[in-house]
């Protein structure tokens, strides 16, 4: 009980922040229910028209695109990140381990815009990849990476990879190696031991990584904006276009509310789907 005053002091800043977030969310919700008045910054009266407009094919398509890009990014990041995390945990040489960690974590220290511009240089028609392919005589015409979903996903994987690797490495490091030794002593080869022991036991880390990558990608803005070139749009891009280019703040707010609802719904579904793996004990 004596700790109660300290608890209050420590939780007060968090409570104030939470209050600020709630106030902002209420403002966004309030805006989403107001009419847009052409030529004015002030919204009009209350209306549900904005939510009805969400049913237009364009907006439904952008919402589906967003979920699709998030899913592709999360799965691709998992496929790239798992071997890296595995190596990070199992490499014995401290120097090699540190080097790998630096390579994995460095993208976190670059801004999203800088990272995205570097991908433009790599993916462009005259970029690194196309220049190498042309130099090797493998292609005559450049392969189109820019302004495609593929290009956007490549750049997004780079953004989410550090978080995925850190989460997977945390999950993998908690696996008791005696389980692997037991499997091997019972005659399982390395592949079978991995598939029957390591992979199932790392599922909590996989689920945490995939869920985080998915949620993080949902709010991606600069990467789809610059790599997608207006051809690949996610919800954040639409919000920007409507709010900051068209001054239609009410509809931009409606998209925010719908995007938030979709994020919560998708993450809830992911959580339900992952429930069977939650009780797996690593050690």
């Amino acid at each position: 009980m004596n700790q109660q005053p300290f608890l209050r002091i420590f939780t007060t800043p968090a409570a104030l922040c939470a209050l600020g977030f709630v106030a902002a969310m209420v403002a966004v919700l309030q805006y989403s229910l107001r009419a847009y008045v052409p030529g004015s910054l002030d919204p009009g009266g209350f209306t549900l028209t904005n939510f009805a407009d969400l049913l237009k094919p364009l907006y439904a398509r952008v919402f589906l695109n967003t979920v699709w890009i998030c899913a592709l990014t999360a799965v691709s990041t998992l496929l790239v990140g798992y071997p890296l995390a595995y190596a990070l945990v199992h490499i014995e040489n401290p120097l090699a381990k540190s080097a790998l960690l630096v390579i994995v974590v460095t993208p976190l220290f670059l801004g999203e815009v800088v990272r995205t511009y570097s991908w433009i240089i790599v993916l462009g028609n005259n970029g690194f990849i196309n220049s190498v392919l042309r130099g090797l005589g493998l292609i005559e015409q450049p392969v189109q990476f820019m302004f495609t979903t593929f290009g956007v996903v490549i750049a997004l994987v780079h953004v989410t990879l550090p978080v995925m690797v850190i989460m997977l490495a945390a999950g993998l490091s908690h696996i008791d190696r005696d389980y692997l030794r037991a499997a091997e002593s019972l005659g399982a080869g390395p592949i079978r031991a991995f598939l029957t022991v390591t992979l199932p036991l790392s599922m909590p880390g996989v689920i945490a990584g995939v869920t985080t990558a998915f949620a993080w990608t949902f709010s991606a803005f600069a990467t789809p904006q610059l790599i997608g070139g207006g051809r690949v749009n996610m919800i954040s891009n639409l919000v920007y276009q409507l709010g900051f280019a068209s001054f239609n703040f009410p509809f931009a707010a409606t998209l925010c509310v719908a995007g938030l609802a979709l994020t919560i719904a998708t993450l809830s579904i992911l959580r339900l789907a992952a429930r069977p793996f939650e009780n797996i004990e690593a050690h």
Binding site: Y36, P38, G39, S40, L41, D42, K56, L58, R61, V62, Y117, I120, G124, N125, N126, G127, M146, F147, Q225, L226, G229, G230, R231, N233, L238, Q241, L242, G243, F244, A245, S246, F247, N248
Partner: protein, 337 residues
């Protein structure tokens, strides 16, 4: 030692007072801020002894800030585009201008007299810019040349403002921006030629410089900047004219330095300052008596006479402010996606 600390204390408390005495100008960052600092602000300070502080930011960021500070503005002067200026004006953020306090404004071109609240500071055009080295046989004499099947997946346009190509499509369909619906089918026919839509000036420059989109509906000043950087861009003015863009200046309602603000605007319209702006940015002076270097004056997109101003496609700024959302939404639904 005591004297030193007293002097330091006096300096510290006097610094904010000096800052308060300065005229505060709200403008975009980067080269735009530098342009005004090196020309208008420099001369204004030399003549009045009053310094100039700048608040920089994006068009909508600055608008939102001033809306929140209504009645007690953060700046005394605001530079913004003509149609966004109408959003300020409609919200009561701009002072009604007394042009008798701006003697140099008598030489303003007719098109630069946007409203009783904001006046054109300089002008530019959105027109066709292309990489002649990548499009060997391309010729752009008319806006309709953009519809050529040979330009399939080669064109870029701004994603933040489709008003230029909407006005052009209307024009090519024997209508105007006010009756833009008549140009919708024409614009839909251009859809296959769009490869990308750029987000900002830097994105536009990157797409042209890399050749990703060898032809663009481009801001003339940006094109000249890139040409200066060695990118081989050809800028053309189609026979129908280019789409006129005007950046404007206004005094914020509630400014406590309105008299100085009027002096600042008068300095902006000084013919020499306007000629300097044309030289530095390859834009058009807002006044007709600026002595623009003949080499600059002959550049496509730079106009110095009343007749040249009238040759451009001029979308009414108030109409643009009211229609931007509708246009942007239609463009997103029918062209971009």
């Amino acid at each position: 030692m005591v004297r030193f600390w007293l002097a330091l204390f006096a300096l510290l408390i006097s610094a904010p007072v000096q800052a308060q005495d300065k005229l505060v100008v709200s403008i975009w960052g980067g080269s735009w801020r530098d342009l005004v600092a090196e020309t208008v602000a420099k001369k204004f300070t030399a003549e009045t002894g009053v310094g100039v502080d700048f608040i920089t930011g994006g068009t909508i960021d600055r608008l939102n800030k001033e809306k929140l500070a209504k009645g007690n503005p953060e700046s005394d002067i605001t530079f913004t585009t003509s149609h966004v200026g109408w959003l300020y004006a409609n919200d009561g953020l701009f002072e009604t201008l007394d042009t008798s306090k701006i003697p140099n404004a008598t030489n303003l071109s007719e098109e630069a007299r946007i409203s009783p609240y904001h006046l054109g500071a300089w002008a530019y055009v959105y027109t066709i810019g292309y990489r002649a080295d990548l499009l060997k046989d391309a010729k752009f004499e008319s806006w309709s040349d953009l519809w050529s099947p040979e330009l399939k997946a080669k064109l870029a346009a701004p994603d933040f403002d489709p008003s230029h190509i909407i006005a052009v499509s209307a024009l090519l369909s024997d209508a105007d921006a006010a009756h833009w619906e008549k140009g919708q089918d024409k614009l839909k026919a251009l859809k296959p030629n769009f490869k990308a839509f750029y987000t900002n000036d830097a994105n536009s420059q990157q797409l042209l410089a890399s050749g990703e989109t060898p032809v663009q509906i481009v801001l003339s000043m940006n094109a000249y900047y890139m040409i200066g950087q060695g990118v081989p861009i050809t800028l053309v003015i189609p026979k129908e004219g280019a789409v006129l863009g005007i950046d404007t200046v206004a005094i914020m309602k509630g400014s406590k330095k309105a008299e100085l603000a009027y002096k600042f605007i008068d300095t902006l319209y000084d013919p020499e300052i306007q000629a300097d702006i044309a030289r530095l940015k390859k834009g058009s002076p807002a006044v007709l008596n600026a002595k623009v270097d003949p080499e600059i004056a002959k550049l496509p997109g730079v106009f110095t006479t009343a007749a040249q101003w009238k040759q451009q496609i001029n979308i009414d700024a108030k109409l643009r402010a009211e229609k931007t959302a509708e246009w942007r939404k239609w463009f997103a639904e029918n062209i971009m996606n």
